[in-house]
Structure formats: structure tokens, C-alpha cells
Amino acid sequence: MRWLKVTAGLAVPGSVALFYAAFIFAPTEAFMGDVQRLFYIHVATAWNAYLCFAVVLFSGLAYLFRRAPRWDWLGASAAEVGVLFTTATLVSGSIWAKAVWGHWWTWEPRLTLTFITWLMYIGYLILRRSIANPEVRSRTAAVYGVLAFVNIPLVHYSVQWWRSIHPFTIGSGRDALHPDMRTALMIATVAATLLAVTLLGLRQKTAVIEGRLDAGGLAGDGLRG
């Protein structure tokens, strides 16, 4: 897994760049002030949560059609990383909401649906833990992973479909982001993606070892990085 070494090597300076872009490089927003800087972390983690859940969907479908355990391990790893990034999205959003809206939480569509997504993928992880037979576990988790993804388009389009107080991420025309803010957002998103891919790769590697141990022994091949 040479690519993992590359992404891991880039993820460390990437994380430094993320914090530099968000907290130093990006200009201070005129209305909200410094708390708006959380936006770069919030959007970057939300994007990566979507990405991870898309990996759960595609690895679930791949497992159902190919029945290769590696797809199941990939799905399980992506769900864990996705839950981690969704937690970061909810926490950063909540801190921002307290400063701007005056509440830690409000039951508006985007927030509610993101919370539901978080619950769904925690359900996915618990479902996996509750099934002992590895094959039944893989099949059931794959089906649930496909079903749970239905919520992601709802989360994404909720700000357009319902009158929501959640701000649009990137406006256009008069609402367009300042070019420096756009650059900062891009750096944050790329850096967070490198981090997510690295975490996914590392978790996948341990999942492969767990799977082989489950099967009664380590074959050795495919375990070398």
C-alpha cells in the first residue's frame, strides 16, 4: 500500500496547512467575526463524511456483487471514519451556532438530517458488532449501507428544499465568497480529504488483519504495506 505512505506523508503537512488557511490566511468575516473560521473545518469535515458514506455505499454494492471480503472491510472502515468526520461536523457546527444563532442546537432540516445520518451510521457499526457469522454480517451491513445512503442527498439538498436557516455553503454573485476565503476552503477541503483517505487506509489495513484473524490465521500476503 504505497499510496497510503504518500497520503499519510501529505496528510501531516496538509493538517498544518488546514489550520493555517482557516485561522491565519483567511480574512476575518465582517459580520460574524473570527467564529466564521470554523466554517472551513465544518465544510471540509462534512464533505469528507459524504465521501466516506459514498464509499460505504459503493463497497456495499461491490460486496453484494463480488462477495470479496475486502469490500466489506472497506465499507466498515469507511463507516467508522465517516462517523468520526460527521461528529466533527456536528461539533464544529454546534459551536458556530451558539455564537451566531445563540443556541447550541436547533431542529432545522439540515441539522436534524445530519444528526439522523450520524445515528444511522452508528446503527451500521452496532449492526456489524451484533452479527457473529462473518458472511451474514457482511451481507447485512452491505444492504444497510446501501439503504442508509438514501439520507445523504436529503442532507445535502435540505437547505434548498425547505426554508432553512442553515446558510448556503458557497453563494454566487453578491453572496460569492471572497477569493481568499475560497482558497482557504479549498486548502482545508484537500487537507481534510488527505487525512480521511489516510485514516481510511490505516483502518482498512487493521480490518484486513482482523478479518484474517477471524478466519483462523494470517495468510501473510496482502498485509505488507
Binding site: L64, T112, M120, S130, I131, R139, V146, W162
Partner: protein
């Protein structure tokens, strides 16, 4: 699906056959070839993979390597109707515990389009004609095994697959099964039988011995022992061709399965009673505690009504899944030429009908007991909303139950999986119902209504397509 054709020859053929559970390989690179009138005995120590092999040969489990062909047609990629050419006696009786023996055979007979006379003929053949009206759960293991053999032979399958068929049978029962097996082979049928009983293995033309290592297996040919046929027994009809009656279509299968689900549910009245219980409880608690002065019923009633109906849908949900797993009936359905989507849609229809009945009674009671004071209730549009809402709630409840029944602590898992999936449905149906009851213009709540419809479609179609994977054993 396009049939996948294998070697153009009669009989059963498999090559390079393998099966792994996760990363653990149980069988590897196995080859089997069986011609008309032949029997293969499968032997080996416990855990060697005998049942795994038989399930693959019966088409209820997919091989992870290689393919099984019956008369040149693939069992895993071929059409579902190829499964009508196989009769399978598994480890479990593969019957519905709440139905009687006769009802079970009539049910499976309808799936295979077998006339009811054949059911009576087989009940007599296995010595169960006088005890056929006992519910299967009250039958002894031996009686269940006789019924299992009758179910497998119901549609005159050219290929009979039996996993330890003499298990639980008394001497008479064993003799009956051995005679039926002889008759099947004499008629040109094929048989694959797993077991250590010498009476069985002696009848085989080939003996497959499985070892504990995945690729450790040997096949030997032998001269089968003379068939024992009682004096005066009629010559067996040809088993080579099997039943040629046309199979019922998707809709007839769906109707048959829905009927069986409803009958099974009402046989267990204690279980059905829990469905409306939660709704009644919500009505009583809120009816007693809310006072007309301190409530805003216009906003409260839709939320209370739909919460009650959603929990009613969940409360009785696991029972049919557990019931069909109790004696392996789900394996029987998997072995039958039934589209998995028909089985899933039948479960959904049965659940929806029961929930709709609860909603039909509870909705007027909610309005009456909670003293609705808002604008006049639009009867027909509200009925439509209740029908659509209960359908969407049922789709989630059934999908979550189908998933959670696979794990330990299914009751807890059901809530854990269903509640997040239910929230978009509940949000949309409550908001749409509120808009309708308050007489707001549709433009104000139609986005919620559209979301409700989308949830209903997605949560019914996705699992219907994927449910086949959950039915695998």
C-alpha cells in the same frame, strides 16, 4: 436475468466449486457430476462442509467460486424457475410453525402450482394424513421430518437433495423415506444425500468424502445396493422430467405469500394484539393528561397520531421474521422458485394492511378523544394521507426488521436501525398532515408530501431488490 448455460449435458454438474464464509474457506475446488437415476452420498466429519455443499447444490446458497449447473443451466445465475427441478430436505423441516402440516404443503404447493390432490397423496405416502391438521409447532421432530420429505417431493423434482433425511425418524419413518428415495431413483431421478447411515450410503452410485481441509475431498464409485421396494408397490412415475405445469407469476406468488403471512399473524393473536396496544396507550395517556385550555391540538394531534402509529408498526414487526426462521421456512422459500422481491413485498403488504386497519380505527378515536377543535376534517384527503403515511412507515419498519433479525438482540437492533430511518418519514408525514388539517394551501406543505412519497418509494424498492441477499443462508 439471462440464463447462464454450462455444459450441454443432462444431470447435475459442478466444477471448481468453493465456498468461503468471510475470509474462512470451507470448501475449495470441488467437482461433482451426477447423471439421471444416480445417487451421490456425501460423508465426512462434523464441520467438513456437507451442509454447505448441499445448500449450494440446492441453490439456496451461492458458491464463492465455481458454479452449479443443472441440465446445463446455472443455479446461481440462471432463472428462478430452475429451482422447481430441485427438492431439498435441509437440517430444519423448512416449514411455517404456525400453519398445520396440510396448510404448509398446500402453501408450498401453490408456489409450485401443484394440485391439492398431490398434497393428499404425499401426506398419505409419509404417513401423516391423519395428523396433517396439527400445527407444525406441536408436531414431534419425526412428524416434522416426514412433512419435510413430503414438501421436498411435492413438485416431483428430478433432483432430490437431502441433508441427514433420517434424523428424528422412527423405524417406520426411516423405511418410508428409504422407499420414497428408491422410487425417486427408479423413476430416473437424481439424489444427493448427506449422512452416515449405512442404509443410505449403500444406495449411492458415488460417495464423496469431505475432509477437514478445504481442498481435501475424494469421490469413489460403487455398485449401489439393490433397491428395497415393498411387494405390490406401484412403479414410480418418471422423475426425469419433473412437473411441467406452468409456474405462478410474481403476482400470484405475492398473493399466496401475503395470505400465509396474515394467517400466521392471526394464529398468534397475542402478537397481533400488541400492534394497536401502543396507539391505544398514547391516546389514553394524552387524552387524560392534556386539558383543553393548555394545548394547541392543531399542532399536537398529527405528531401524537403518527408517533403512535409508528410505534404500533414497530411493535409487531419482528414476529413474522422470527416465525419464518423458527423451523427454517425462510430456507424453504429460498429453495422454491419464488422471486425474493415477491416474498419481501408480501411481508410489506401484510404489515401495511394490519397497520392500515389500526389507523382506520385509531384516527377517528384520536380526533374524538382529544377533542379536535380545528377546521372541519377533510375526510378523503386525510384518508389518502393516512394510507400513504402508514405505507411509508411500514416500509421502514419491515426493512429494519429484515436487517435486525440477522443479529443478536434483534429487539434492540430494530429500534436502533428503524428510528433514524423513520425520522424523515415521521417529519414529512406529520408536517404534511398538519398542513392538510389546518387547511393551508398545498404549496406550503407539498415539499413534505413529496418527501413522504420519495421515502415510501425508496424504502420499499431498495430492500425489495436487496432482500434476496438477506434471505441467503
Amino acid at each position: 436475468m439471462k440464463p447462464s448455460h454450462g455444459p450441454r449435458e443432462e444431470g447435475l454438474a459442478a466444477a471448481g466449486l468453493g465456498r468461503a464464509y468471510g475470509a474462512r474457506t470451507v470448501l475449495s475446488d470441488l467437482a461433482v457430476r451426477l447423471g439421471p437415476g444416480e445417487m451421490l452420498a456425501v460423508t465426512g466429519p462434523n464441520g467438513a462442509g456437507k451442509t454447505t455443499l448441499l445448500r449450494m447444490l440446492a441453490g439456496v446458497s451461492r458458491p464463492t467460486a465455481g458454479e452449479v449447473f443443472l441440465d446445463g443451466v446455472s443455479l446461481s445465475n440462471g432463472p428462478a424457475h430452475i429451482r422447481r427441478r430441485i427438492g431439498y430436505v435441509g437440517h430444519q423441516p423448512m416449514l411455517f410453525a404456525d400453519l398445520t402440516g396440510r396448510e404448509n404443503l398446500l402453501f408450498f404447493g401453490r408456489l409450485y402450482n401443484v394440485p391439492s390432490e398431490r398434497v393428499e397423496e404425499l401426506l398419505a405416502a409419509v404417513g401423516m394424513d391423519r395428523r396433517a391438521d396439527l400445527p407444525v409447532h406441536s408436531c414431534s421432530r419425526g412428524m416434522q421430518q416426514r412433512l419435510a420429505v413430503a414438501r421436498a417431493l411435492l413438485h416431483r423434482p428430478p433432483l432430490l437433495i437431502c441433508d441427514e433425511p433420517l434424523t428424528g425418524l422412527d423405524g417406520d419413518g426411516q423405511a418410508l423415506v428409504l422407499e420414497l428415495l428408491d422410487a425417486h431413483l427408479a423413476g430416473g431421478g437424481m439424489a444427493v444425500v448427506a449422512g452416515h447411515d449405512r442404509q443410505l450410503t449403500a444406495k449411492a452410485h458415488q460417495v464423496l468424502r469431505l475432509g477437514m481441509a478445504p481442498g481435501d475431498w475424494t469421490i469413489t464409485r460403487q455398485a449401489p445396493a439393490e433397491a428395497q421396494r415393498p411387494e405390490g408397490a406401484a412403479a414410480a412415475p418418471s422423475q426425469r422430467e419433473g412437473s411441467e405445469a406452468p409456474l405462478p407469476g410474481f403476482f400470484r406468488h405475492w398473493l399466496t405469500l401475503t395470505g400465509a403471512d396474515l394467517v400466521g399473524a392471526f394464529r398468534n393473536l397475542a402478537g397481533v394484539a400488541t400492534v394497536p396496544l401502543f396507539a391505544v396507550l398514547v391516546l389514553l395517556v394524552f387524552g387524560l393528561t392534556l386539558r383543553p385550555a393548555d394545548r394547541d391540538l392543531d399542532a399536537l394531534l398529527p405528531g401524537l397520531l403518527w408517533t403512535a402509529l409508528a410505534f404500533a408498526a414497530l411493535s409487531g414487526q419482528l414476529r413474522p421474521f422470527i416465525r419464518e426462521r423458527a423451523l427454517g421456512a425462510v430456507e424453504g422459500l429460498r429453495a422454491a422458485p419464488v422471486d425474493g422481491a415477491a416474498a419481501y413485498m408480501a411481508r410489506l403488504a401484510a404489515n401495511w394492511l394490519m397497520l392500515l386497519a389500526v389507523a382506520a380505527v385509531m384516527t377517528p378515536l384520536f380526533f374524538s378523544f382529544l377533542g379536535w377543535q380545528g377546521p372541519p376534517v377533510p375526510g378523503l384527503p386525510l384518508a389518502g394521507m393516512v394510507a400513504l403515511g402508514t405505507f411509508a412507515v411500514s416500509t421502514v419498519a419491515v426493512a429494519a426488521a429484515a436487517l435486525s433479525v440477522q443479529g443478536r438482540g434483534a429487539e434492540g437492533l430494530l429500534s436502533l436501525l428503524a428510528l433514524p430511518l423513520l425520522l424523515p418519514v415521521l417529519m414529512s408525514v406529520v408536517m404534511a398532515t398538519e398542513g392538510l388539517l389546518q387547511g393551508r394551501p398545498p404549496a406550503e406543505w407539498q415539499a413534505w408530501f413529496r418527501l413522504l412519497m420519495a421515502c415510501g418509494i425508496v424504502f420499499s424498492m431498495f430492500p425489495a431488490i436487496l432482500h434476496d441477499y438477506l434471505m441467503e443462508v
